[in-house]
């Protein structure tokens, strides 16, 4: 049956958890594209057959016409599935920029195809140039702020000599606790390198 593989590709997207990506299935993608080419060739063959019989291609409604119609509809369906696959992945990649920041961790990067990595880089560069023109950092304050400073504990070794926004250097050794500006700490917390301490 036509359109099965394309639907399988889309179902892969649906099967992942919300906001997560599965690795880019380039084999299946290429198989669907090959199926499209196949449909196109068959379509042309049917139209040629109608022309050889001397029938008017625009108006006759014979068996070849219906066959060509079915081929055309399958082609359009495959196109829709492929477009939806790429579009939804692109949306998820855009959301990564807001959740994780401008650098993708390795575990996510290996799930993307190289074109998607390029897309992320360009999107990130566009956002950076916009923010620098506005002189406003849009990626902080994802949660409405209550306090300008928060207490954090470091979970992973980040190293020392990290320069914070008020030009002081800090030594982020594991299990150390710090009292930081919320905007600095936010990017580390979202990457899982620190946790917020309350009470």
């Amino acid at each position: 049956m036509y359109g099965r593989k394309a639907c399988q590709l889309v179902k892969e997207l649906a099967s992942g958890e919300k906001g997560q990506l599965t690795p880019f299935n380039s084999d299946l993608f290429e198989q669907v594209v090959a199926e499209c080419t196949q449909h196109h060739l068959e379509l042309q063959a049917l139209i040629r057959k109608m022309q050889e019989e001397g029938l008017d291609v625009q108006t006759t409604r014979n068996a070849e016409h219906h066959g060509a119609l079915i081929r055309h509809l399958s082609l359009v369906r495959n196109k829709r599935c492929l477009m939806a696959y790429v579009y939804n992945r692109a949306e998820t990649i855009q959301s990564f920029l807001w959740k994780i920041g401008h650098v993708l961790p390795q575990e996510i990067e290996e799930k993307l195809c190289h074109l998607e990595v390029e897309y992320f880089k360009k999107h990130s560069a566009a956002l950076k140039s916009y923010m620098s023109k506005m002189q406003l950092d849009l990626t902080v304050d994802m949660v409405p702020p209550k306090d300008p400073y928060i207490q954090v504990r470091v979970l992973d070794d980040i190293g020392d000599g990290i320069v914070l926004s008020d030009d002081k250097t800090a030594n982020f050794a594991r299990h150390s606790m710090h009292f930081l500006k919320r905007t600095d700490a936010e990017q580390f917390i979202s990457r899982g390198l620190m946790e917020e301490l309350t009470g």
């Binding site: 036509y2 997560q20 049917l46 068996a63 219906h66 477009m83 939804n88 994780i100 575990e107 917020e196």
Partner: protein, 185 residues
């Protein structure tokens, strides 16, 4: 066209219907029983909804009511709505019903969907706001995709409320990153 990229819409339209071809078609391989790729007039074939819908608009096929809306399901829904396993019949029961209704020309499908949804919604509301996970999982397996979305929305609003009530860290690690790496890496 607003649903062109919508994944659920694409999967809904993949549901299989059985249709009868009113005109012949050649050069296609949809019918597995015919080897030549020629479909005779009057032959019964199983095709997905996206194909049958377009073909019916051009009067090439006529569509029969799919099995998920037949008499057996209607009787079950009238008897005890909340425990009917709609997911095994059709995971997108309501959406598919909405699409099928104008095509098949059956007026009663709308009422069927409405009554089924009204009765099940009461169960969904009560279970979503109170039940623990273990007892809920059996109930979840009979829900359609649309009902599961409602259920998840209710659950997430309950967890947000509890979190707000108890206080606690508001900044979270990005959910997309998954679990912590092993310490050997």
């Amino acid at each position: 066209m607003a649903k062109y990229y919508d994944i659920d819409d694409i999967i809904t339209e993949e549901e299989i219907l059985s249709v009868i071809f009113q005109k012949a078609a050649s050069g296609v391989g949809i019918d597995p029983s015919s080897e030549t790729g020629y479909i005779e007039t009057g032959s019964k074939v199983e095709v997905p909804f996206w194909l049958s819908h377009e073909l019916q608009l051009r009067q090439v096929v006529s569509i029969n009511i799919p099995s998920c809306f037949d008499q057996k399901t209607r009787l079950e829904i009238q008897a005890d709505c909340a425990s009917v396993d709609l997911r095994s019949r059709c995971p997108f029961f309501y959406e598919f019903g909405c699409k099928i209704a104008p095509v098949v020309g059956d007026r009663t499908i709308g009422f069927l969907l409405l009554s089924a949804f009204k009765n099940r919604y009461k169960e969904i509301l009560t279970k979503a706001h109170s039940a623990a996970f273990s007892s809920a999982s059996k109930f979840l397996s009979v829900l359609t995709k649309e009902e599961i979305n409602l259920y998840d929305a209710a659950q997430s609003s309950m967890t947000s409320f509890k979190k707000w009530r108890m206080g606690g860290p508001r900044f979270q690690k990005a959910s997309v990153l998954g679990r912590k790496r092993r310490s050997t890496e």
